[in-house]
Subunit: 410 residues, 2 copies
């Protein structure tokens, strides 16, 4: 949690954080600004002090709303700097950064850099910065980074924002189910008024509309894949495809607050009208493993234990898993889950080589699935849960797991 930052910085022996990039769709920056729609900005967090937001003057109103200490980038007279360095952008931006650091009394120490930005620009500017500020060490962290560690557990305010996205997500999943069920099947295909078949593209457009109406967006896309597409876990589906009775649809919806903010993540598998026997059988295995794993989740336990447990359970039911054959495209072929927050995939991870635990405040997905590409068959169930400090594992949004979506036939 954000409250842990000072302690994390101390334990990592870090004097400050530097966060760069745009204010939008930039998780590290949104973590501090709350998601203010800023353009290029900088945040410097000196250990023990209120974070400072350096923003463009044009965006002073948006910057003021963040509640951070703010400074105008224009105060540093970038135009004059440009002239001094003969129009060399690399040197100019390095000098700008130097002046911000000096202003905060930061002239030496270890500084962790973060933020989503063009890595070419960053490499270029940081190498110039190193030359003019030799006593500042700029450090890139990965996996066990201070910010990722803080962000891996959510405070009450963050939980409420994620819960609200969960409500929107289940609302839209429900609207999608109703929309599909409102169609009639003719010759095994869903048909619109006038006899024209419905396409997956039209369903996806509706989903986007319903999200937009609710102040959400899906910058990472939406998986609405049927038939063979549903057998490849991240295939997003083919817009031109029609919707057939008995066909499996994997609907994985992972929207975020508009402008880039907190995400939610939920998957349902549906069969239109009826479920063929082999789909029903695979679905029941996925559902059984989902329920078993959900019941076993425990505050503080290593996330990877449940990935191993899921493999064990699926193998017990006779399915191949990536534990036995990491290259398998059949059976259980992906991880059990991941953290959800300002990124749709973030810490904690369920990967077997990792060490992430289900710490209090973790928000994670549990998403077992089975895939049989040769049989045109794929099933996944996914929910997002909050690991509470009191040990309760709370579903942050609830939606029925029903496999069959009823459809009228003609």
């Amino acid at each position: 949690m954000k409250n842990d930052l000072d302690v994390l910085m101390q334990s990592h022996n870090i004097d400050a954080l530097l966060i760069v990039g745009s204010g939008k769709h930039n998780p590290a920056m949104s973590y501090f600004t709350g998601g203010a729609p800023l353009g290029q900005a900088y945040i410097i967090v000196v250990n023990g002090r209120t974070p400072i937001l350096f923003h463009r003057d044009m965006e002073r109103d948006e910057a003021a709303k963040t509640g951070l200490d703010t400074r105008r980038i224009e105060n540093y007279h970038i135009d004059k700097i440009f002239k001094e360095v003969h129009g060399d952008m690399r040197l100019a931006l390095a000098e700008l950064l130097k002046r911000m650091f000096v202003d905060l009394g930061l002239t030496s120490g270890r500084v962790v850099v973060s933020g989503k930005d063009d890595i070419g620009t960053s490499l270029s500017v940081f190498s110039a910065f190193k030359e003019i500020m030799p006593d500042i060490e700029l450090i890139g962290e990965i996996d066990q980074s201070i910010l990722n560690a803080a962000r891996a557990t959510k405070d009450a305010h963050e939980i409420e924002r994620i819960r609200k996205m969960g409500q929107i997500t289940t609302d839209v999943v429900g609207l999608t189910a109703d929309f599909l069920s409102s169609h009639t099947a003719v010759d095994g295909k869903l048909i619109k008024h006038g006899g024209v078949p419905l396409t997956i593209g039209e369903v996806k457009d509706k989903i986007n509309l319903w999200l937009a109406e609710r102040g959400a967006e899906n910058p990472e896309g939406t998986i609405f894949a049927s038939g063979r597409d549903a057998t490849v876990p991240h295939s997003t589906g083919n817009r031109e495809q029609l919707l057939h009775l008995g066909e499996t649809i994997i609907f994985d919806l992972f929207p975020c607050e508009a402008g880039g903010g907190y995400f939610f993540d939920l998957t349902r598998t549906w069969c239109l009208g009826y479920a063929p026997q082999e789909v029903q059988a695979v679905y029941e295995d996925v559902k059984a493993v989902y329920q078993q794993v959900m019941e076993e989740l425990k505050l503080g336990a290593p996330f990877k234990d449940y990935q191993l447990r899921t493999c064990e359970l699926f193998e017990g039911l006779g399915h191949p898993t990536i534990l036995k054959d990491q290259d398998t495209q059949e059976g259980y072929v992906h991880g059990l889950g991941h953290g959800v927050g300002l990124e749709v995939h973030e810490k904690p991870w369920s990967r077997v080589m990792g060490n992430d635990c289900l710490d209090a405040g973790s928000v994670i997905t549990i998403e077992p699935g089975l895939y049989y590409p040769d049989r045109g068959l794929g099933v996944r169930l996914e929910d997002t849960v909050w690991i509470r400090a009191d040990g309760v594992v709370e579903l942050l949004a609830d939606y029925p797991h029903d496999l069959v979506l009823p459809v009228r036939t003609n």
Copy 2:
């Protein structure tokens, strides 16, 4: 243009490009994939060869649609690498990168890195890569980078995509104008059926809906700012604010293709019902400068010449400009325009310290404006034009410049 890449790489003495990050909202990657909705991926462009896309197996269908040469990241057995480096993600990702390079016969040379990604991760992985591949020099470029230079001029295929976004943008601006005009003003405020006043938030929600319906999104937000907000160029507007007769609205719409693709950029300034005399006067100055500059645009000319010309023209009309006082918040306070493509702001730039020219294939905005915060007054007009090889400056989407939006009064 993309065709220029080989020559640009040669002239910069570069052996390859490495592009990292997600396939979504990552301009450098979209430039090669056309916007495939991939998660984490890598592209390596070796001079003179077809670019290679390294993708996750789960995304093989999306990868195949890009038309690039594709390779599965799983081929490199990241799990085994993890074990070899004892679960150290930094070393594992560096080793993965090394295996990709070695596979392409790239064991020495100068490689430009690009892509939008977490800069902490990149710094960390690249420093480890340097240790295991000492003969590869990873280079960050800025401003005059190879990719930015290529992207600054658009080929016919890109122009069509931008033109299509222009059509969507003007459609939505028209729908917004009609929506506002469909309301009645009571006591000087726009009122909905039932007598409740309309808010800017409701107008923005409509705009988002209309964009979503047309397969567009606005990841960078939308400026719909009235009254005092309109006097700060990048203020996005206050959702709770009501709409008053005679008040100035700056409506700056810059959507892109859904999932992150080509942008468009257009601004209109509107007064509801009538224009106060001082707004009308300022509007006429902006319009006159807009027309004059548009007429003078010439293939091959330095973009900054028109920024200087705009300052000269505004000063001739008695307005302060940033040319005379870079800190002014009154008068003409920003740049004349910018390139538009996979980013809403990209090369060529109109900045006075730069050297960008209006080369054939440039797509730029022309957006003079005047702001008087103390008088609650702001006016901007912006269109996006294509500098054609035959010297014609073509408006890529057309929408009337009318200042007054008619509104019924009661």
